[in-house]
């Protein structure tokens, strides 16, 4: 019996050495944290697709050289279900169990704010593709993002509504359970009032997962008689709010931020969301060659046109992988330094980080015409 055991052990050792010798190619893990289920599931699917495409291209192109060993990326995607606490435990799992070299995510600011302190403490670089709340990157020097921040987005919309559309009064209805919605609402209000406009009603609701009836707030807004309705919320509640607003005869133009960017907005809202305008990071109708090339590649791979979530996730992953390749190291601090000094050119243009690790880049304004997202304008910072 003992002899048999010894033989098995020796065989196993030989086999192990054999595998070890063959492994000239190293593999390291890269983590992703996105809402794959829950109210914002389309955000997660798009983001995961974007990251997966960037990783695949990186591996096909040969990966990176780490200490003379060719190293490719194994991508591990985790579901945060749109909840900060689930995102935090996903981050713990990725860092402690999977030993990831970096994290791409999360989508929602409230989840990123829960993930960032964990990544920062562990010294693992994190780049969020789409969390626009200003506080996210202030958590620490390992936290980056690939999108513009809420002050810019709220201000852009205030400018566009006041100057281009010429509307002087507005009402705001926002989700007070989410940092993203609150941030946009505050900066829109501040920007709009600074220009001389008047915010005639400023209303909140509690968490889009809990609220389906917005008529008490809309009744009040209707009585205040605004010329414009600013809804800095995610697509599901925007569709519901506009349906109820149009149903009660509140027919003023409406607008919001990048949370509107989902095919479901029109699917649920129907004619109620027609004519709505929102600020976004990317439009697939943008004629620049980088955008058009990405749209073609993505559409061939996934069978549907990419939205901004997919584009930003692709850029965020691309930016991280570029830094990883340049640093030639799997150490968090080396990759972080390479990211800080990046000159990565993605589909959203050239990326340069400011001192808060926020990129300096432009926004697009999109209008919903006949149920389709139509590109209106590009606004520079």
């Amino acid at each position: 019996m003992r002899k048999l055991f010894a033989i098995v052990l020796v065989c196993a050792l030989i086999a192990g050495v054999g595998v070890g010798c063959k492994a000239k190619v190293g593999v390291v893990n890269l983590g992703g944290i996105f809402p794959m289920t829950g109210a914002s599931a389309t955000f997660g699917t798009s983001s995961k697709n974007g990251v997966a495409m960037a990783v695949e291209e990186f591996n096909t192109a040969g990966g990176a050289m780490v200490g003379g060993v060719k190293t490719t990326i194994n991508y591990i995607n985790e579901d945060d279900t749109g909840l900060p606490e689930v995102g935090a435990s996903a981050a713990q799992k990725l860092i402690n169990q999977d030993k990831v070299i970096g994290i791409i995510g999360a989508v929602m600011s409230k989840v990123s704010l829960a993930v960032a302190p964990i990544a920062q403490a562990a010294g693992v670089p994190e780049i969020s593709p789409t969390s626009t709340n200003a506080k996210v990157t202030l958590v620490g020097d390992y936290i980056f993002r690939a999108c513009f921040i809420d002050p810019f987005q709220g201000t852009v919309m205030a400018n566009y509504v006041y100057n281009t559309l010429g509307l002087k009064t507005a009402a705001v209805l926002y989700d007070n359970g989410n940092d993203y919605n609150k941030g946009l609402a505050e900066y829109f209000k501040a920007g709009f009032e600074k220009l001389g406009g008047k915010v005639v009603d400023y209303e909140a609701f509690t968490d889009e997962a809990k609220t389906v009836d917005y008529k008490p707030q809309l009744t009040k807004i209707k009585a205040a008689n605004p010329e414009f309705l600013y809804l800095p919320n995610y697509y599901g509640s925007v569709a519901l709010i506009l349906k109820q607003a149009r149903g009660m005869g509140l027919n003023v133009p409406a607008g919001g931020g990048d949370g509107w960017d989902s095919p479901d907005l029109v699917k649920i809202g129907g004619t109620a969301v027609e004519g709505g305008i929102f600020s976004n990071h990317f439009s697939k109708d943008d004629k620049s060659p980088a955008v058009q090339q990405f749209v073609t590649k993505y559409t061939t791979k996934y069978g549907e046109a990419p939205d901004a979530l997919a584009a930003l996730a692709y850029d965020a992953a691309g930016l991280f992988l570029d830094a990883f390749k340049k640093s030639g190291s799997i150490k968090g601090s080396d990759i972080r330094d390479a990211m800080k000094n990046t000159s990565f050119v993605g589909i959203g243009g050239a990326y340069k980080f400011d001192e808060n690790r926020d990129p300096i880049k432009s926004a697009v304004i999109i209008k919903i015409v006949n149920g389709q997202q139509t590109y209106l304008a590009t606004v520079n910072p």
């Binding site: 007070n176 707030q217 569709a239 699917k267």
Partner: protein
């Protein structure tokens, strides 16, 4: 004045949905003394059944609302029957706490099972229009309108409440139900088949939740996710407690009080809306601990 009345109308609309869920909570509690937490998920299930059945029903019958609501009630009734048989019956003579934990388990199972991509999936769904959209103008000078869907909500919930009241008070099985609710061992000694009575309660209660699900879908035109039952369910449960749990008209009254106070509280300060509604509830329960229409019954030792 116009705004005040419009908020009252808004509150009544919210309340009618709570009412149909609250009826099921109260009925099951009245008979088996079990808070069926899965009730809110049966409500969700009914709403999704409406989503899938409405196109089929439109094809067969032309109009969709009445056949859809009846079909959804039958399916959720069946679901309630199966749920009782599998999950609650084996625990009937065990500690009441075990049944409560099981109810939570059934609730979590239904939510997450339905959220699987090949069941209902987590994504938003647009609920088909079952009735004509629009408003009934009441007073042009006050800007007051009543949405058609509100008339439907109130009509259906009051009709079902009256039907349930008649069923419990006038039919033989209803009388047996009340006997079982009053004293289970004695009722069984008098020749009442307790299994049949409890099964009936678990068919009728969920069927009402199914109707509530259809009204929810028709009113809001959207199904958020299979977790959509949690909040209306929680509020309906509180409404049932507020009205006096176990009391059928009490559940409906509690639901309307809940809906109306929510609408007014939100209109006063939308940031505190939910909170104010709950404060009102705590206030009422401090004055009447057994609920608005409940009778105070000390625990017999």
């Amino acid at each position: 004045m116009g705004q005040f009345l419009q908020q009252l109308i808004n509150g009544i609309q919210i309340g009618s949905i709570y009412a149909l869920i609250a009826l099921g909570y109260t009925m099951v509690y009245g008979i088996v003394r079990l808070i069926n937490f899965a009730h809110a998920d049966i409500f969700m299930f009914g709403a999704y059944m409406g989503f899938f059945l409405a196109p089929v029903m439109t094809k067969i019958f032309g109009g969709a609302f009445i056949p859809t609501i009846i079909a959804a009630m039958l399916i959720t009734g069946l679901l309630g029957f199966v749920m009782e048989k599998l999950a609650y019956r084996p625990l009937r003579y065990k500690s009441r706490l075990s049944a409560l934990i099981t109810a939570l388990g059934v609730s979590i199972f239904l939510e997450n099972f339905c959220a699987l991509p090949f069941v209902f999936g987590p994504a938003y769904r647009a609920f088909p229009d079952l009735i004509v959209a629009g408003n009934l103008p009441i007073s042009a000078s006050l800007g007051l309108t009543i949405p058609y869907v509100l008339l439907l909500d109130v009509g259906v919930s009051v009709f079902l409440m009256v039907l349930l009241f008649w069923f419990v008070n006038k039919t033989l099985i209803g009388k047996q139900m009340r006997a079982v609710a009053f004293d289970k061992p004695t009722a069984s000694l008098m020749g009442i088949n307790i299994d049949v009575v409890i099964s009936t309660a678990f068919i009728v209660g969920p069927a009402l939740a199914g109707a509530g699900g259809i009204l929810y879908g028709t009113t809001y035109g959207m199904l958020g996710s299979p977790f959509l039952g949690i909040w209306p369910g929680l509020k309906a449960f509180i409404a049932a407690v507020l009205g006096g749990i176990g009391n059928i008209p009490g559940a409906v009254l509690g639901a309307y009080v809940m809906g109306i106070s929510e609408a007014f509280a939100t209109s006063v300060n939308s940031n505190l809306g939910y909170g104010i509604a709950f404060v009102i509830l705590i206030g009422i329960l401090l004055i009447r601990p057994s609920g608005l229409l409940g009778k105070f019954m000390p625990e017999k030792v």
